[in-house]
């Protein structure tokens, strides 16, 4: 299995790289993880993981700045059907529009807008920063075997914006923070998490393994 971790200059790749290598070991699958910005390599990938630390607009600009990358991603995901995992802003980019620092178009693979968090309880601080549990919205192979809910494992969140999906069924898990916060999405061969699996210890480890086992 040829896993590509997309390097477009938008944040930390080291933990995700190591996390995916560990997931290969955990699942017993054979394969390798390649960190690359090369469009041809991305187009040939069996699985694609796209991180994203930063502001939505800056990440989109970084993605566009790599020649042929958006086309290669589109080819791999939309035509070839390679499973895609977006992390944090890498997931937000699936939306139609991001609203951080003005409106910026996303990839539009999953309908919705990326909006500022507005917790119903005004006492709650924004950004939503730290460890929260997840509530299942729809069973999905990505979340198989994970202990979710109040007494479940925690995921690490670090964000002030979240993806508000047009279709409720695209949201497979939420966190509660003065109302539901989109935590994980999936549609077809595309999925992603707002939280950081590569920083989420036990839960993240299981999630990466599930992604590699997933056959959408």
């Amino acid at each position: 299995m040829n896993i590509v971790l997309v390097d477009y200059g938008a944040g930390n790749l080291h933990s995700a790289h190591r996390g995916l290598e560990r997931a290969l070991t955990d699942t017993g699958l054979s394969g390798s993880v390649t960190v690359t910005s090369d469009a041809d390599t991305v187009a040939r990938a069996d699985r694609i993981v796209m991180p994203g630390d930063g502001a939505f607009r800056d990440c989109r600009q970084s993605l566009d700045a790599v020649p042929g990358l958006v086309e290669a991603l589109t080819q791999a995901v939309k035509v070839k059907g390679s499973p895609f995992f977006g992390i944090c802003v890498g997931m937000q980019l699936l939306a139609d529009i991001g609203e951080e620092h003005g409106e910026t178009p996303g990839l539009g693979w999953l309908g919705g807008h990326v909006r500022h968090l507005e917790p119903a309880d005004a006492g709650l601080k924004v950004p939503h920063m730290g460890w929260n549990t997840l509530r299942l919205q729809r069973p999905h192979p990505l979340l198989d075997g994970l202990r979710l809910g109040e007494g479940g494992l925690h995921a690490y969140f670090l964000h002030a914006y979240h993806l508000v999906a047009d279709r409720a069924e695209d949201v497979i898990a939420v966190a509660d923070y003065g109302g539901p916060v989109t935590a994980a999405v999936a549609r077809g061969t595309v999925c992603g998490t707002q939280f950081h699996p590569e920083k989420s210890q036990t839960l993240g480890r299981a999630l990466f393994a599930n992604f590699l086992r997933w056959t959408p």
Partner: protein, 263 residues
Amino acid sequence: MTLKVRVIPCLDVKDGRVVKGVNFVDLADVGDPVEAAKAYDAAGADELCFLDITASHEKRGTLLDIVQRTAENCFMPLTVGGGVRTVEDIRALMLAGADKVSINTAAVRDPAVVGRAAERFGAQAIVVAIDAKGVSKPGEAPRWEIFTHGGRTPTGIDAVEFARTVANLGAGEILLTSMDRDGTKNGFDLGLTRAISDAVSVPVIASGGVGTLDHLVDGVRDGRASAVLAASIFHYGTFTIREAKEHMARAGLPMRLDREDGV
């Protein structure tokens, strides 16, 4: 489901080695930062903080190497600060593996750098570290001022006002250290912590003065901090991270107590 209170050990790093200063003097070398980070990852720390106190800007490469090796070996969030001056400094640390970068003196000199950094990296990645000391006389309403250079240099800037300013500019978190309490083990300056927490809509990390586990509870319950940072009580093994979190949970605070032994 609730967002949990974070317990954050902080490692002071100088020339690539971990040190812990008492009131930022009397430094003692206590080890390899990457090994310490791995130990805290295994112990269930909620985040880790590296504060680089290397005097020379030329030796910054050492820090980037430590951050990268930590990111490769740890699956926990990492904040890095100390000597961060420009957007390019922040970018280098984030690419090396920092999740958040904290700005201190540079933000005091030119608060606009906070706005530029947040525009680029998002508010969630930008922490402003505020070092404050009480400056009001007995009988006056309490007032705190920003100090730089490890608490030696007064700036005349009101700490609460400054916190509001940087939060409005885009800081996603305030790392608040009481220079009166740092190294004393007498507990956080709760008045200061509360004043800043109530003044801003972003999370505040309380720092400076932790000597007991009750101090951690006080920082959240009375200081209204979202997270607590401590160094020596953890580094010298007075308490484990787990003991701290269980104590805080018994006091009624929402804590993450996942065991790292399975799904």
